[in-house]
């Protein structure tokens, strides 16, 4: 089984959506995927935030077009990609403990229930080193 590491650094919806699509492609090919929520990624997966996280990061000028395009193309809400992938393949989601502290909590119960565990940066580095494919968004 080949391995992919996906590091989510941004809370921008366009990157979270892109990550969800890449994750889905990897799961479809039976890859083991480890997702690391770093800084903005941790922010996006907080309970109370994740359910309605519709801010874009890089292209504010096209936000309305982007949101309308998602709807027109029948693209799921970004969080749904991650929930679905968890149910279809070997996917583990790690919360960076420092990122959690920055946003006020490094306790799992404060994040959506698909987040599996809290980790340090060493785990991310060693996982990325061992992976066949490593992507940062």
């Amino acid at each position: 089984m080949s391995k992919m590491v996906l590091a989510l650094v941004s809370s921008g919806m366009e990157k979270l959506t892109a990550g969800g699509i890449m994750l889905s492609g990897a799961v479809a090919q039976d890859m083991e995927v480890k997702i690391f929520l770093l800084l903005g990624g941790a922010y996006a997966f907080r309970k109370g935030t994740a359910e309605n996280m519709k801010e874009v990061g890089d292209f504010q000028q096209a936000k309305d077009q982007f949101l309308a395009g998602l709807q027109k193309a029948n693209v799921p809400y970004w969080l749904d990609f991650y929930k679905k992938a968890k149910g279809m393949g070997k996917v583990t989601i790690y919360l960076c403990g420092t990122a959690g502290k920055i946003w006020g909590s490094d306790k799992l119960e404060d994040y959506v229930d698909i987040v599996d565990t809290v980790c340090g940066i060493g785990e991310y580095i060693s996982s990325a080193e061992e992976a066949d494919l490593s992507i940062t968004l």
Partner: protein, 84 residues
């Protein structure tokens, strides 16, 4: 297979993923191929253009047989044989 040969095929399972964008049809294929017996044929209906290129690569990687595509108005019929 030729389009004429594909039209003669009887699919053991038809998966209608029309209206969903990538990766919807791909995930539908992954989920549904397990519902076909080994040696059986899955027919995937997709209106997503990229899926026509995705499924042959996915089938090859997963060890299944990609049989071909029939283009219809607004969608494609994609045939995969489960081989393992």
């Amino acid at each position: 297979m030729t389009e004429e040969e594909l039209k003669e095929l009887h699919a053991d399972k038809v998966v209608d993923a029309r209206g969903t964008s990538c990766p919807g049809p791909l995930l539908a294929a992954k989920r549904s191929i397990t519902e076909v017996s080994i040696g059986g044929i899955m027919e995937l209906l997709s209106s997503d253009t990229g899926t026509k290129r995705d499924i042959p690569r996915w089938a090859e990687k997963m060890g299944h047989g990609f049989l071909g595509v029939i283009d219809e108005a607004g969608y494609s019929r994609i045939f995969v044989k489960r081989t393992k």
